[in-house]
Every structure is written in structure tokens, then in C-alpha cells.
């Protein structure tokens, strides 16, 4: 049966070659679109790792120019107390510029047992940071005052990095290294649920949190504040006045994480929507083309089909034959296409996990089969309805 169909296809290789190349390219386009969609969906499924609803971000710069670390600390302690004194404020934390949903990224190395990973997000945070963001502690503890005078500085890592460094093993108390020469040792005191700091659709990535020490205030520029639901625009204006009057030499800006999340998601969603629309249009185009060509081919083979019917083939077996033919065509192009697509996980292009590519390949294969099946269904049914007498008479 298959051998026979194969022969039929081989006899018309020139015509089928074009059809096949069209299927091949649609497969590749679909593979690209699905890879992206699967990647985004995978990230979207994971927990946010924080509660951003009532968190505001304050940006400031060069509020106080002084060489004296003590007066620097006093200056910001006063600011902290005056903000904390407001009834609408639950908690706050000074932190480095890479606050959630901002465009700022700091990356560095982190390694354990000679396994170094680059592109690890480096955050600087205070003891109140996790509480302010409503983060989730999985093991150990967050920083506290006792971490001030330790010989090896304490750090907290997120579960993504924990997975890479320690696998199933114990993480708490282990010494990791932030340089490749063993000179930058840090002690892990806690593991938190990874915070998706670049929006719902972006991967959280690895992260190391360092405790802010005295003197860091020289270069810090952000405060995250958790407010109560009662905090309204009037309160915000008041808070702004307080900050701007206290830090006279600084540009102050207040942003809401809720809005920042919208903006950063927008940047991922827009390309996704554009690609999906383009992909859809290409698929419709291909479907129509396939449909037309198959339909024409069947009309040209009326004599052959009439002959088959005359010697006793049923209508359904004729239509099955035609559907099978196009399915085999599709299989050929999918084999070639998969050969190209499988290179992506093998060569680890774009640093995505192999699973994402494999799922995308699978989805694209199913999609193409479905498309080809649907496109050959109607022409096949038409062929089944051919009367042998009429068809043979034509010749």
C-alpha cells in the first residue's frame, strides 16, 4: 500500500517538490512561532514570587554629597524613619537600581565546586526587602542584623540558582564564589522563590541577593515601599513632597509596580502578537494554496480514479488514498524540517532549554498534519463522488 503510494508520489516528483517545500517552510515558521509561545507560556506558568500590588518604587539621585560614612547613614536613617512614620506605609527597603520590572540589569558570576555560571542577577537589598516585596522564603532565612559582622558575607539565592549549584543537595551554609579565582566567597543563608523581575513572560533567571552594608548609600538610588490599600493619590502627593523637600538636590520619581509590570509585559506581548498574526496569515495562505493545488490535482486524475472505482474500489478507499498521499508528502517535509529544527536544542541556540524546542517541534508537526489533513479532506470527498462511467467517458 505504502509502496504503491510512494510510487505515485515519485512519478509526480516535480509538482510535489514545490508542495513539499511549501510545507517545509510553513513548518519552520510555525516552529519559530511555537518556540516563542511555549517559552513565554512556560515562564507565565511559574509563580511571580512576589506581591507587587501595593508596592511603589522611589528613584532618587545624589541626594547628599559627603565623604563621611556616618553622616551618610544618619541622613538616610532619618529619611527612613520619616517615611516609616506615615500610617499608609507598611514597610520599605533601600535597594540597588535593578528593582522588579525595571530595565536595569546587573549580572555577575556565581560558582560552586568549580562550576561557574555567568549571567547571574546581582541584587543588593536590606533586611526588610523580602517582606516589602511579599517574597517567599523556601529554605533558611533572609538577612538580619547578625549578618553585619560575619567574616564571609551572607547571601540569599533564588531557587533557580540553587537548582544549578546544588541540585538536590544541601544549600544552606555552603560557601559559593562570585569570581573565578576563589577570592570572592559568600555564605548562603537562605533560598527564596525566584522573583520574575522582568515581567510575567520573562524567565526569572538566577539571582544572588547581597546585604547592603554601610557606605552602600553612596551609590544606591531606589527605595521600594509597601503601602496599605488606603494609600491614594493624595497620600502619594504628600509622600512626594516629603521626599523632595528632604532631598533638595535630587530628582525624585515615584512609580507603581503595577504600572511598571504593565509596561514591561507590553514589550514582550507586542512582538508575540505581531508574530502570531503574521504566522496566522502565513498558515491561512499555505492552507488555501494546498487546498487549491490538491483540488486541481484530483480533478486531473479523474481517469485514474474512475478506473479504480470501476474495478471495485469504494468511495472511502479512494478518498483515503488521496488523503494518505498528501500525508506522506507532509511526512517527507516534516522529516527534513525536523532535521533542521532539532539542531536548535542540540546546538543550544539562544540558551533555551531543550524541552521548549521539543514541544515546539511536536506542536508544529501536529499542526502541519492537521492542516494537510483538513486541506485534503474536501478534495478527497470530491474524488470519492466521481462516477466511474462519467470519468472514463471523458477520456
Amino acid at each position: 500500500m505504502f509502496k504503491h503510494l510512494f510510487k505515485l508520489i515519485w512519478n509526480k516528483k516535480k509538482q510535489n517538490f514545490l508542495l513539499m517545500s511549501e510545507m517545509l517552510f510553513s513548518f519552520l515558521v510555525l516552529f519559530a512561532v511555537f518556540s516563542l509561545l511555549v517559552y513565554y507560556y512556560n515562564n507565565y506558568k511559574k509563580p511571580m514570587g512576589m506581591g507587587y500590588q501595593n508596592v511603589w518604587v522611589v528613584s532618587y539621585n545624589n541626594a547628599l554629597q559627603t565623604k563621611n560614612t556616618d553622616s551618610l547613614d544618619t541622613y538616610y536613617e532619618t529619611l527612613r524613619n520619616s517615611i516609616k512614620g506615615m500610617p499608609e506605609v507598611n514597610d520599605l527597603s533601600f535597594c540597588s537600581d535593578n528593582v522588579p520590572f525595571s530595565a536595569n540589569t546587573w549580572t555577575g558570576l556565581a560558582g560552586y565546586n568549580k562550576h561557574n555560571y555567568s549571567n547571574v542577577n546581582m541584587y543588593n537589598a536590606e533586611d526588610s526587602y523580602l517582606k516589602t516585596l511579599n517574597g517567599q522564603l523556601l529554605e533558611g532565612r533572609w538577612f538580619n542584623k547578625n549578618d553585619m559582622a560575619t567574616k564571609i558575607p551572607s547571601v540569599v539565592i533564588n531557587n533557580e540558582l540553587r537548582e544549578k549549584l546544588f541540585g538536590k543537595g544541601e544549600a544552606i551554609g555552603k560557601i559559593i564564589d562570585e569570581s573565578d579565582d576563589g577570592k570572592n566567597k559568600k555564605r548562603v543563608v537562605g533560598v527564596i522563590q525566584a522573583i520574575k523581575a522582568k515581567g510575567d513572560y520573562a524567565a526569572a533567571g538566577d539571582a544572588v541577593y547581597h546585604r547592603i552594608d554601610t557606605g552602600s548609600f553612596r551609590w544606591l538610588g531606589k527605595i521600594i515601599i509597601q503601602v496599605t490599600p488606603a494609600a491614594n493619590a493624595a497620600f502619594e502627593a504628600r509622600l512626594y513632597k516629603t521626599l523632595a523637600n528632604y532631598m533638595k538636590n535630587s530628582n525624585v520619581e515615584i512609580e507603581h509596580l503595577v504600572n511598571k509590570r504593565k509596561d514591561i509585559n507590553y514589550f514582550t506581548l507586542v512582538p508575540m502578537i505581531v508574530l502570531s498574526i503574521v504566522g496566522c496569515f502565513l498558515v491561512i495562505n499555505v492552507a488555501l494554496g494546498l487546498f487549491g493545488v490538491l483540488w486541481y490535482n484530483i480533478n486531473k486524475r479523474r481517469g485514474e480514479i474512475g478506473l479504480r472505482r470501476a474495478v471495485g474500489a469504494t468511495g472511502s478507499s479512494v478518498s483515503n488514498q488521496l488523503i494518505m498521499e498528501s500525508m506522506i508528502l507532509a511526512t517527507f517535509s516534516l522529516i527534513i524540517g525536523s532535521f533542521f529544527a532539532i539542531q536548535f536544542p542540540l546546538l543550544n541556540v539562544f540558551d533555551l532549554s531543550a524541552g521548549i524546542y521539543l514541544v515546539a517541534i511536536l506542536l508544529a508537526i501536529i499542526f502541519i498534519y492537521l492542516l494537510v489533513f483538513l486541506c485534503s479532506l474536501y478534495p478527497g470527498r470530491q474524488a470519492a463522488a466521481i462516477y466511474p462511467a462519467v470519468a472514463l467517458h471523458e477520456e
Partner: protein, 410 residues
């Protein structure tokens, strides 16, 4: 002759309506996608508001410093560098300096307004040609005095003052400071990041003292204006040689890169000497356009082959009466081009609709896409190519038909 071909083409189009629909659908949608893309690129790269003197300007947007250990860091420049080094060049007649826009808030009747402010020097306003709806820019005198004056955008005026006829001389409060409005300018979309801002202030009122900071890098862009476009290459080289002679900021660096480039090159600058932004952008757009065009072209080739084979009797007759293969190929390609141009026409109409919808959605504030002559010309060219590419192979197949079999096939 052509008239005849045209008649035949129309007759053929009306013969198999479904096939005609497929062809036209493919062509018109592909063209729509490409036209919207070109309109977008054209707007971002080609729209010269407010810097209409682009032909004689060079832009300095970044500096990259290479460590001895191989690390690198890059970013915009400092005011000190631009005013001290870039302004020392002989060729530029003017050096405009402006900061990267950054955000702050202002509150009007407990309503929050997000404000993007930008610090500029006075030469910036001479180089840029903002459309002033009212008032004018601040002058050198006001900048030197450190007057608290501001030029605001239309949007800002609308948000802050509401519907009032004139706001020149009124005060706007931003970042807890009151500034006197000297002028209102037409909006710039945020995609023109070197010239975008809601409120433009003299650099002398900046809260951090930009004149004291002696490092090379900070938060400023520079624009160099030459006397004429003939001076531009010389200006470029002069800046380059100045950079080559520039002393290192500290011992840890051993190389500095910075360029004064034409607008587009500067716009897509990655800040990394090793990665040319222009190349990255061109490859991305190229691959995208190729993919979008490849599939419909294949589709058209497929459909065209089936359609030609349907006309084998016609071809047989013409060949029997002595038409050469060349004539037939020529006829078929012309027919195909007529078809694609028809699809192109539909595509243009669809693009107009798509662009209207996109502008209505206001995805990027103040970015108003439009189809102009350039975009249309590109569209026409694309259509022509389409017709040619998708017509050649089927026509060649057809011309090789044997007369006898062609006549017998019917």
C-alpha cells in the same frame, strides 16, 4: 499587444475565481505586512522632526571603554566631555548637548502626571527645529543665568494646564521646582529617544552639578552641526582623531571608542565596538521580510503552475501557429505582473486600513504612521518582484510543453 495581454489576463482571472482569490489574498496580505513594516521603519528612521538638519549633523550617543582585563563598559557621555572635548573641534559650527530623558512626577489637584524631563544647552535649540506652537526656546542668556525656564510639549500642556489658549509665562511645577514656560513645542514620539521629552530645561538648573563632574561618561548626547554637508566627513574624522588622542580616565582602561555618526548609525548603536547595530537591525529585518515573502511566493508558484497547465490547449494552439517560447514566456510574465499589481492595489488599500487602526490604537504615543510616496514606491517594487519571481518558473515550464501533447490534453 499589452492591451491584448491585459484582456487575456482579466479573462483568465475571472475563469477560476477561487484560485484568483487565493493569489490575490496572498499577495495583498504579504504586501500589507511589508508596507506597515516599511511605514514603521520610515517613521522611525526617516522622519526628521525635530532634527531637520540631519544631512549636516553627526550624533554622539555612546562611549565604550575597554579594561585591561578585557572587560568593557559603555554608556552615554558626560556634559563635561561634550562641552570640553567635543566643543573644542574646529569643524562643527554648533554643538548641541542634551541629557537622556528621565522621569519624575508632578501632582495637579491630586492627579499624578508622569513627566519626562530633558536638560539641554542653548545650541541644541539652534540645531533642532522644533515646531513652536507658541512662545520660543530659552536663549544663551537664560541658560548662563540658570533661569528656571522650560519648554514643554503639547501633551504636557494639555495634561497640566488643560484647555487654555496660551501658557507662555505661566509656571509649571515639576520635581518640586517651579519653572516658567517659555514655549510649547509639537510632540516628539518616544521612539526618537535623542530628542524626546515632555519638558525641556536648561542644563544649568539640573540638580546635580553637571559642570563639576569631570568623568567622560554620564547621561548626555551630543549633536555636531557642520557648516554644510560637504564638511560632514571631515567633522567625523576630526572627532575620531580627538578620541584617539584622548587621555585615559584611569589606569584600568586601555582603549576608548566613541563615534560621531549619522543619525541612523547612531540610533541603532549598541555601544559595543564588536557588534554593529546597523548589521543586527538589517539582518533581523531581512530575515523577517524574506520569510514573510518566501511562503506566499512558493504558494503563487504552485497556483500558477496549476493554472498554466489548465491553459495547455491555448498554449498548444499558439505554438502550433508559430508563437515562440520567448513570446509565450513574456506574455505569461506580463499577465502575472498584472495579477500581482492588482493584488498590490488591494494590499495598499488594506495597508491604509491597518495603519489607520494602528494609529487609532495609539500603541506608542505620538507615533503617527503614514503611507507616503517612498513607502508606496517600495510596495510597488515588492509587487513587481513578486510577479517576476512567481511567474518565471511556471512560464519556463509551460514554454517547454510539447505542442502535440498540449493539444491532446484537452
Amino acid at each position: 499587444m499589452l492591451k491584448n495581454y491585459f484582456k487575456i489576463a482579466i479573462a483568465v482571472l475571472r475563469r477560476r475565481k477561487f484560485f484568483t482569490f487565493i493569489s490575490l489574498f496572498g499577495i495583498s496580505f504579504t504586501l500589507t505586512i511589508l508596507l506597515v513594516l516599511t511605514a514603521f521603519i520610515n517613521k522611525i528612521a526617516g522622519d526628521s522632526y525635530p532634527d531637520r538638519k540631519r544631512d549636516r549633523s553627526l550624533y554622539i550617543s555612546r562611549m565604550q571603554e575597554i579594561n585591561k582585563t578585557g572587560g568593557q563598559s559603555s554608556g552615554p557621555l558626560s556634559y563635561y566631555f561634550l562641552s570640553h572635548y567635543a566643543s573644542s573641534l574646529k569643524t562643527p559650527v554648533k554643538v548641541g548637548i542634551s541629557s537622556i530623558f528621565s522621569g519624575t512626577n508632578t501632582y495637579v489637584n491630586n492627579k499624578k502626571i508622569a513627566v519626562n524631563y530633558k536638560y539641554t544647552n542653548d545650541a541644541y535649540w539652534d540645531i533642532m527645529e522644533y515646531d513652536f506652537i507658541e512662545g520660543k526656546a530659552f536663549n544663551k542668556q537664560q541658560v548662563d543665568n540658570g533661569d528656571k525656564v522650560a519648554v514643554i510639549s503639547e501633551d504636557m500642556k494639555q495634561q497640566y494646564f488643560g484647555d487654555v489658549p496660551s501658557v507662555v509665562g505661566k509656571y509649571i511645577e515639576a520635581d518640586n521646582v517651579k519653572y516658567r514656560v517659555t514655549g510649547v513645542v509639537k510632540n516628539v514620539p518616544i521612539t526618537s529617544y535623542m530628542t524626546y521629552g515632555d519638558i525641556y530645561l536648561p542644563y544649568t538648573v539640573s540638580k546635580s552639578d553637571v559642570r563639576k563632574d569631570k568623568s567622560y561618561r554620564g547621561g548626555f548626547f551630543g549633536v555636531l552641526l557642520a557648516k554644510s554637508s560637504a564638511d560632514v566627513p571631515r567633522m567625523h574624522d576630526e572627532y575620531q582623531s580627538m578620541i584617539d588622542r584622548l587621555p585615559m580616565e584611569s589606569k584600568e582602561f586601555d582603549k576608548i571608542y566613541s563615534h560621531a555618526d549619522p543619525y541612523i548609525v547612531s540610533y541603532v548603536d549598541t555601544g559595543n565596538e564588536g557588534k554593529s547595530g546597523v548589521m543586527i537591525v538589517l539582518t533581523t529585518i531581512g530575515i523577517f521580510a524574506l520569510l514573510v515573502m518566501l511562503l506566499p511566493t512558493l504558494n503563487l508558484v504552485n497556483i500558477n503552475i496549476t493554472r498554466i497547465m489548465e491553459r495547455s490547449s491555448e498554449i498548444g494552439v499558439r505554438k502550433a501557429f508559430g508563437a515562440s517560447s520567448v513570446t509565450l514566456v513574456y506574455q505569461f510574465i506580463v499577465e502575472n505582473i498584472i495579477l500581482t499589481l492588482l493584488g498590490g492595489l488591494i494590499g495598499v488599500i488594506l495597508s491604509f486600513i491597518a495603519i489607520k487602526v494602528l494609529n487609532g490604537m495609539n500603541l506608542i504615543p505620538n507615533l503617527v504612521l503614514s503611507i507616503n510616496f517612498t513607502v508606496l514606491a517600495i510596495g510597488l517594487l515588492i509587487c513587481f518582484l513578486f510577479g517576476l519571481i512567481s511567474g518565471v518558473y511556471p512560464a519556463w515550464r509551460m514554454s517547454k510543453l510539447n505542442v502535440v501533447t498540449a493539444l491532446k490534453a484537452s
